[in-house]
Symmetry: C2
Subunit: 374 residues, 2 copies
Amino acid sequence: MVNPPLPGSCGTPVHNSGMEDGSAAPPQQHEGAAAAQRQATLHDVARTAGVSQATASRVLNGSIRNVRQENVAQVLAAAAELDYTPHLSAQAIARGTTNTAALVVSGVDDPYFSTVAGGATQAAEAAGLIVTMAVADRSPERELQIVRTLRGMRPRAIILTGSRIDGTDTRAALIEELDAYRRAGGSVVLISQYDLPFCTVSIDNYGGARQLARELVGLGYRRFAVVRASAALRTSRDRCEGFVDGLREFGIGVEARLVVEAEFSRRGGLAAGRELVRQGLGDTELVIAANDVMAIGVMTAFRDAGLVPGRDIAVAGFGDIGPAVDVVPALTSVAVPLRQVGLCAMELALSNDDVSRVVPISTNVVLRDSTPRR
Amino acid sequence: MVNPPLPGSCGTPVHNSGMEDGSAAPPQQHEGAAAAQRQATLHDVARTAGVSQATASRVLNGSIRNVRQENVAQVLAAAAELDYTPHLSAQAIARGTTNTAALVVSGVDDPYFSTVAGGATQAAEAAGLIVTMAVADRSPERELQIVRTLRGMRPRAIILTGSRIDGTDTRAALIEELDAYRRAGGSVVLISQYDLPFCTVSIDNYGGARQLARELVGLGYRRFAVVRASAALRTSRDRCEGFVDGLREFGIGVEARLVVEAEFSRRGGLAAGRELVRQGLGDTELVIAANDVMAIGVMTAFRDAGLVPGRDIAVAGFGDIGPAVDVVPALTSVAVPLRQVGLCAMELALSNDDVSRVVPISTNVVLRDSTPRR
DNA sequence: CTCGTAACGGAATACGATTTCCCAGCAGCG
DNA sequence: CGCTGCTGGGAAATCGTATTCCGTTACGAG
């Protein structure tokens, strides 16, 4: 119970570390502050090794030029002794190129994004890049601002995933920003949901949902409810449309009353589930959610209301995130190879094709206990 | 079904974008390659605006010096026209300091780490820093290598979370590396599990587990099994010790046979659960796992074996990650305010105290349906 | 022995910013 | 009118590294 209940602050203890005012200045540096003992530079290494900077540079990096064995040893010894670490920013400037890739996600907490991020990170590290990640929190303005900042790092690639929302006026600004970045030689890759003139790894949300509808009808279901997110969210919209179109193939419609909209999160699913319970499910047999976490929220809401998911009412989601199988009953879903999506996006970005291409990623219906055969 | 089944590659389509060999060189640049249209530099902006570089710099960044209103307008107009973005690496060099914070996690996929990362990212962005993230994949060697690379970015802080494993010989090297970084003015913060001479945000694993033991005994449980990870993993060990010590208060012991070791992941939990089922649980009433994801795996294994968790056998975990409440029965666990841990770590790092301090984070037992009163 | 050439070391310059230092102009004041 | 203090602009130094260009040496071929 040490921590204060205030969220957003960890209550760092006060830390008057001695002197009251600036009187007794720290001994070494004249600047006050941290009195940091300067990092060794290439110059220092060269001097210690008794060679020129150029030689030191050639030794310590993959230069084409050869250096005499003796000098190599000297330089390496000096570098080890001084604990030299090359200054990446300086290298970036001198070389005119960085070894950085940038990743913009909507939120790290969501397993969807963290899985994609995992794949992208793996691909980046395999290529010797270090990845910088920013969280847009589903705000287009924030996303725009992030891209603007990220551009300053001159990363080799910028990968955007998730938070694009249709119809905001930041759209044009974002396009402009990304395009300027691309003109300057960077590569941009979007992951699904975006609808912009850039390379895109496109998850087949529509097709997967449509196939899901077919298979559910095949299991004997006829009466459906839909839990979806705002129509402005491309992913949610595509999935719902696919599902509805799939049902239509069999002449099945969904009552408008039974389509509820909520946040694209577990909490949203919970709320939607409660809403459905409140207004009465009628003879609805199955609820499909635009999202696995929403579906899980819906199941919890139903269970709280005394309905047993999978027996009293079936539920299906989309995404096949890890927890989908841990939940009871295990959730029927549409598998999206999220890790591969991340990998693919990064590889696509690093292959620097100048042509904007769309790489389709197919999805895969996975039937589980939450939708038993009727 | 477009994607080839090969993992690790997304099968980027071939892309002969026209010319067969290097004959028809791109028009603009003499270098071949991307023919990128150079990013505008401060120099360009200054020239366009008809002022000196110094003035342009003063306008475009928070300088102390004033600039005449007229020139300000000129410079801003020029910057907008040329779509100027300051080169962060150049700024870093000139200023001698970056606006970057580094975060090392064991894996983004694990909800534990991604939640911590979320908190840390939030705090960093609030402070105007951009965070670079690296994934160590539970390998101490990889972690060491990452720290080495990260140091080259001269981040303001390096935060390490999770993958420290006792007894490897990389330990000394890691300490040396981090210490050199700190000597050079960086701040290091470790999150729990580490046992190194640096600032640490310490999660009270031992105390939480001990309290959990007390409360479970209070519910009427007497016979326990333990699923834990390698003893080399500090977190797992602390939790197990706390739990065992808590039971000992009541004179209760745990049979060595009923302590099984497995990977610190959902898969490990699944394996451990199967192992317990195989060798027979005897009259065991409750299984505690070192980890929520392990506990969830154990529950799944039990269910597969026809045991109903919460009725036939109780299960408890540690961490209280999001999915703990979505699972059925909801999992009894020990809540760790992970997001706050991340926030706290970053704030601690940014407060640049030179003193190594340990900030304790208390934990909180949460009883749920997976451990009904007996 | 001479010449051509390959190998390698080092001085200098470039990279894109910030910051110091100097200088011009101007207002205020005795 | 001369001096001081202040404001704001610009030239140049600086940050840490890569790389170009030039000079020296060594070596093998003729």
